[in-house]
Symmetry: C2
Subunit: 193 residues, 2 copies
């Protein structure tokens, strides 16, 4: 039971937290609702009283993950209040740390790969959340005084997304190991311009 998260709290919270963790580790199609409820120390009926379907649970998990990521951005502002360029460097640093700490990449991107049905209800949620994150990074670049803010933000996005997926196929010693160097010299080259 390596996935046990059985602190005493409300069943709904336990289910949500456990599901996040297990979806992240094993993929969405790789884990059944029975396994989630068991690891959460509850049962299937209780899950279906709080979530109308597995798809809906998946969506709630993605929203929770995005909310967690959003809280990290607050740290940047707290650590470097007003200094947007420093916050951009902190973004690079934090991304690199998360790359080292976890090899399963981005939950939203992974879900998009796994849920191939074009009309799957989670797909529009993924798109919305990813677009919001993109907006945030663009704004950070612009406020940091970068000229082509959109282009830098998109390039950094692709580098990070690529690093996270590359780790899953070739491991941490592959191209993703150079992420920080790539990102930093990119920022430099965009500032000079």
């Amino acid at each position: 039971m390596t996935d046990g998260v059985a602190e005493r709290s409300r069943p709904r919270d336990r289910i949500l937290e456990t599901a996040q963790d297990m979806f992240h580790k094993h993929g969405i199609k790789g884990v059944g609702v029975d396994a989630i409820t068991e690891a959460a120390g509850t049962n299937k009926m209780t899950l279906y009283r709080h979530f109308e379907s597995k798809d809906e649970l998946v969506i709630e998990c993605l929203r929770a993950t995005a909310a967690k990521a959003s809280r990290i951005w607050d740290e940047f502002e707290a650590q470097h209040p007003g200094d947007k360029l420093a916050q951009l460097h902190a973004w690079v640093q934090k991304a690199s740390e998360l790359l080292s700490a976890d090899s399963r990449g981005c939950d939203m991107a992974n879900a998009a790969v796994e849920l191939t049905e074009t009309d799957h209800p989670a797909r529009r949620v993924i798109k919305e959340l990813k677009e919001a994150q993109r907006e945030k990074l663009v704004a950070l670049c612009r406020d940091a005084g970068i000229g082509q803010a959109e282009l830098l933000a998109d390039t950094l996005s692709l580098l990070l997304e690529g690093a996270r997926v590359s780790m899953q196929s070739v491991g941490a010693e592959g191209p993703s190991a150079q992420f920080v160097r790539m990102a930093e010299s990119l920022i430099v080259s965009f500032r000079v311009r």
Copy 2:
């Protein structure tokens, strides 16, 4: 039956081709062997006479995909014999074309995302094939006279990998739309150095 590939040829070839196509479109866990054999105009017994398991079929499909990609590299050499820099630009161009033509990304990366079991037999194959592709790109960059060939190759790899996964979450109008511009200016900046 949108996945039908029923030309008269040997069952093994039809199964392999059909499986490649369906794994690509619907994911590995998203398609069963019954669906593959039906679309290939054959039956399950015949599949299991040629492939000892679904996992083995998956591996054969990945090898076939990699072989197809390898043939594209031969085109570069044919189109620009000896001119490695031109071949590098052709690589960027071709990558961009494939991005526009297909939104389901790289089969190997997708498989790595889907097959989370660390000891899954396909994982080592994915790693080997990806490492071979990396070697090829590094060699191309080096032979094109790029100083930091490894770094350029890895950066281009991450950009492309990122573009392919980004398309699946936010669509073709997202950051991946700028792939060519990013790659080309990267090459320029590495040449100047």
